[in-house]
Symmetry: D4
């Protein structure tokens, strides 16, 4: 920051840049105002990946505008929590986009970045699938290698060991589980990579919409388990990808 | 009930019993009033085991009086949540009593019932020990066979399988665990006996004094897991003993 | 486990089995992958009863596939939380299946095990009926004797004593109650068998969707009361059956 | 109010009262400022009974001053949640005062009102005693007849019926219970008088400091059960006394 | 109880009654089994008023059967939480029944008891009306005098004093309020009668479906405020009627 | 109050007013009873602004009557949480009314008060817009200057500084944010005016319907942040307007 | 911001300032590092008042160093939540400091700003005094006029009106109340100024450490009530002072 | 796993290993039983780092024994939540151990692994220091480079940017914050590395012992924020180290 600042100021001092130009560069074009929203076009420079659109509560038109602006700037596009109607409209407008119904995502690969890193996404039961798919789509959008291992909940304790080789071969493991949320602890005890635990709202009664699983995961006795919000497949995938890509070359 | 009632009434009708006698037998001597409390001396007849004294908030004198009354009626004695002071006084008054410091219990074996049934008490970590000990003392008071398996929490997943033979050889498994409370689900998936899960208040922060473990256990994906109150070693032991003794001859 | 392991290894050492065969037997055919899910076909061997299908969030096709696989392996089938549509399809595909609308279950008796054990299922009010029915269907699937006693809530305190003989004649009592969840405590005080308490989401306002009943049951002053999740009729029935069948010959 | 207002204004209009006098009477001497606090001396006129001092967080001096002011105005005095030190000082200053250690109350009978009404205070267990005693002291201060029935919790279901005659002979029943708080429902089903339920903080774990009992009582299936705050023996006694004295002549 | 018991037994002893007759009288006709439910026909004898039907989750046919049974036994009928469809059917079957749409109640006056007691039902805002109406209908069914005072919430502090004369003229005040639930405290400070506070689920956000009002009322600094469940208009009315009718002759 | 009282009484004493007149003025015309509700017409005199209609749960007819009564008394009208149907009817009856669909408000400018004060309403994301609009409409009804700054959530930290000049130029800042509710703290650290934080129910899972944001805002480390209820755009706007208009001349 | 930036850059461009100087001014001396902490010396410029020291968890030496640094920069000093030991040391080091024991504050008036604005601080009961005193000390540190009105809780409804003239004469009212937290709503209905409500942790049982009062205040039906954290006397005072000083000249 | 298994079995089949030897290797020496606890000596092989001792609730003797066993096996030692007494004893027994009082840790560097990776640990305020120190000690035990940045909470928004260069130069950022927990979101918006957020129990009232910060962090609008338990400095450090060391070579 200081380097950037000092260098800009030096240029100015030397007369190679003018005041309005420097002021503009310091405050500039990093946000694109669309009708309804402001896209953070600077996000990729700061954080490594472009802004992702959370579709819930947005008009289809707003999402289209954001995608258009991102495509103009050469940024990959991803929208999550997309309704059927929104997806329809997006697919008509962007025929190259990929819609994953289970994940409720739409993404457009604009760049041709190459794949790096490897993440396994594991589910305790079949009902955790949508959350896992959201994580997978996010990883695909990041160009991170990924694979899915389903239905290895702790009530069938022989199922997980069958997959240990695969789990030990990846950079990060994402575990999606509802009910008591015990699976991340068990996985965490078998691997030497970070585990991103994502509680799902699967269950009833004292599951409290995912709070039981969330609390379970936060209290995991395995040291390598970090937690994200309930049903936050996107965030789990994003963090896993970020970590996996650091760890690979 | 009806049988008992009908037979008493028949006796009365036949003149073999008198009214006050029948009224007395119907409303009678099933409670012993001590200074501070009423002992339910009928409990053993109704429920199979005598009343157990919860020592917290009771004077030592009150506990002594209850024990005396129970001994008079030939009932085994057990007090839980006994403070050091209470234990001292009880041991002086009843030298034959057995004090378990970790469990915080005092018990007196009055009858010479023979041992029946077999229960394994399992802990996730060393801090769950006091709760496990309370369960064990309760089982000893019931004359139920019992054994302790410690420190097999899920973060060390190879530790539990080493004990599977023992776990499969008992009538009931009691599992005490704090933090995320995942162990009962894992145990439940390996055995064909009922699992009594007792959450402990071990942990900090989002453990919420045992609530996280409690919720986890209630939402267990294993079908054979029933739950008791947080730190309720006594109740876990009692239920396990009740079930184990039914299941054995 | 060790026995099994040692014997397999001994066979291998002796040349009576080959490496791939042993590896296969150790990691083998215990899970059947269907389109959407993995059935734990080993569950019956480990836990005494086959896996039960939780229908919520599963496609009808997935349930059909699981049932087919279980029937192939000679396992009794049970699905809970079945929607009307799912039930329709299952009944068309398996005309021998039994659909209980109130319980929302479908089951198929594949084996001809004989009935063992005896459980009473008790409700506090008429609204607790669906949960009680789920418990009853589970018990029928287990071939455990069962009977239903309805509407004996504590506000009509003379109603319960009328049934004491029946309650005292069974191996386990399941009590389903909403609102304040007081009935298990009262039942627990009258019987010498274990009581499985299942809180229901019956009630409004401070009933908090069954949490009030759940907390009440966890704090029961009766020593023989274990608790399962809110509305968890299946789990209550399963535990009761497991215990009852141990206790009978 | 309007009557009082109209009559005051009529007096004024007629010249029988002067402006400052009427203004004073309308805004007047109903509060006595002591060093630390303002005593509501008008409370008895408005609400039937004088203000009661909640001692927690007050200096002993402040309580003495309030009592002095109340005695000057011929009002009976009651302080609740009195510490040992406060009680000492109050007893030295007011030798006629009555200190109940279990209830943690100090009261002074200033008036010689005669006793009216009859309330039974019932406890589930011995640990509920302090709350029951606070209710009893409040009733004594109100000069309401009262009696105590202890240790009739639902786990010993034969204990309550022994007292039904007494319970049916009073105007109001106060029931103090912790843990699952089931006793008020059971009592409510046997009597035709109002039941004031007071949850106590007795219990541990999922008792949540009395919240479980509170929720249980609020959801009571008995129609005649009203609830007050956790451990609020004073309020339970006050309400019971108010109702009982209305109902008697 | 003992009296009744002794007298029955004396009759038996004297040969004026036979064993089966006494046994029948002791266990007898106090419950009427309908298709779906058991009506507690003994409720009126024990508690002063007949059982009230909570319609939610019951079939219309079940309610009709209960009403028929109650009418046979000369008991007044009241059903609460009645849906439009249920009300329709009940009105067709019992043309003399009274349906209150706002209160969601249906009642039938079978007896010709005379009116006794007087209760004021007060609401903080217009949205609290349905709860207040349920209380009023309950009071009418009890033949207790009642009146409604609406919209006197504390934000308009001059509105309540206008009604003080009416509030001071009744035996009990019921106060229904949502949001912060402050009105019962304010009313409680002005009157010398018991106040039954009923929190309503009116409000949003941190109102938490009535929990904020419930907690506020439980913590009321006015001594004469007792609380019932959220939206429990029936229970508030029932308790108020019970108290009011005791207090009047 | 006393002044008003004294002066009224002086007039009375002097014979310039008569008793009924004074009594009427003291208790008088401050409330207008409509069919369903009582309008607090005195609100403007006491609190500076007329009563605002919370439309949820009210009939359209009731709102119309209240507006008519307010217009008769020369008061500006505002209704919040207006449904589409209610808005339709209000617009037909009052063609001069202004309906804001996003804000769900209808208002009528009756007076011609001039604009005073200046408030900035800031949102973290686009989904917070409806709450912000409700605040803006309230400010317009108060004739307070206002401007909207959208989509400056903390994940794009360069976006807020662009608006600092505008934020520093107003009297009060309203900040609407969901999820973690961090924006008010950040804004609070940049400005010297009060910040009214309004949590929104935007988010999922552990957002708990706005509770997470609410707790975050209450714990703000910035000293100048006050909080209102979840989604309470009206209250945020009202408070901001009240403060802004005091601070300007 | 931009102005400041542009002007700095213009100076630089014109050669009137050098690069290091501008960089220094942009990143400069706004934070003073002490041994343990960083003091935000720029706070006064940005927010109008200097940083306030929250003493809990800080060493006395750290507070002394922060005060010294602030005094060097001519800033008034305030520390809250000061323990007796900390206060002692601060008073020895800064004899001119003012220690308020009840408020647990220490402050030093360094500047000679003149008093502006007027705030009334109101308490419901005597136990709310410490929170009120913390607010008062904060107001004194801000040089804002303030006065205290104690013990006007809603259970004594005649007490508040006596103070209406005073309440109506100030710019802002702070109301501190525990238990049900009803007082801010009542005050809010009588005044036309903003009300800052501060819930206190006064009460027991269902008061939940101030949560009941907090929820009550957030749901206040009075439009002019904003809320701060439980026991946050400092923040209530700070906000009130900020608003009051804006509104006065 | 399968590879290991197959190779062992192949050795066995070939006669190069004997049955007992293979069985032993499969079930073997991975756990060391001390008096009180079982050390998971296999942890390092499975998970990359040795087991860490949570000292709370353990005897000093038990910790000594575990350390001895770990040293025998050439494993680095770390104990967290160490009391002063425990630390004393450990330091006497292991003079080479390093005790960090603020962090409450004791560690012994047994191996001479070289440093890899770089983590910045950031605190919002001085009170978050102990949690940050626990994270730092964990990182030192892992031989991960680390640095501490204190007191950059969001209320002083200019403080964070001064450290951006350092934050952008590390592999992972750990952020410890209490109160509203907003700092991780702000940091997350500036960096392209993963952020591990650790809520602290710093704050009062509605901070709810760290729950407010926890919820805030879980709902962070920054995509790169993962969360661990309240005050879980160890787990935050561990995860950060695990990630940082993967990402560096």
């Amino acid at each position: 920051m200081n380097d950037e600042l000092t260098s800009l100021l030096t240029e100015l001092r030397a007369g190679r840049l003018e005041v309005p130009e420097v002021a503009a560069r310091l405050n500039s074009e990093r946000t694109a105002a669309t009708g309804d929203a402001h896209v953070d076009l600077d996000r990729e420079r700061r954080c490594g990946f472009p802004e992702v659109v959370y579709a819930e509560g947005k008009t289809s038109r707003a999402i289209v505008e954001i995608f258009e602006r991102q495509i103009e700037h050469g940024q990959d596009c991803l929208a999550t929590r997309v309704s059927a109607e929104q997806a329809d409209l997006l697919q008509r407008r962007f025929p190259e986009s990929i819609h994953n119904e289970t994940a409720r995502t739409v993404r457009i690969d604009v760049t041709s970045r190459e794949q790096r890193g490897r993440v396994a996404v594991v589910t305790a039961g079949t009902s955790d699938r949508p959350v896992a798919e959201e994580a997978l789509e996010t990883l695909r959008w990041m160009r991170c290698g990924c694979e899915l291992i389903v239905d290895v909940g702790v009530a069938g304790p022989h199922r997980l060991p069958e997959h240990l080789d695969r789990l030990r071969g990846v950079d990060v493991v994402v575990v999606a589980a509802g009910m008591e949320g015990a699976l991340p602890s068990v996985v965490g005890g078998w691997v030497d990579s970070p585990v991103i635990a994502v509680p799902t709202s699967v269950g009833y009664g004292a599951a409290l919409g995912g709070l039981a699983a969330l609390l379970g995961m936060l209290n995991s006795c395995a040291s390598n388990v970090a937690v994200v919000n309930i049903d936050a497949g996107f965030k789990a995938g994003y963090l896993a990808g970020l970590i996996a890509q650091r760890g690979s070359s």
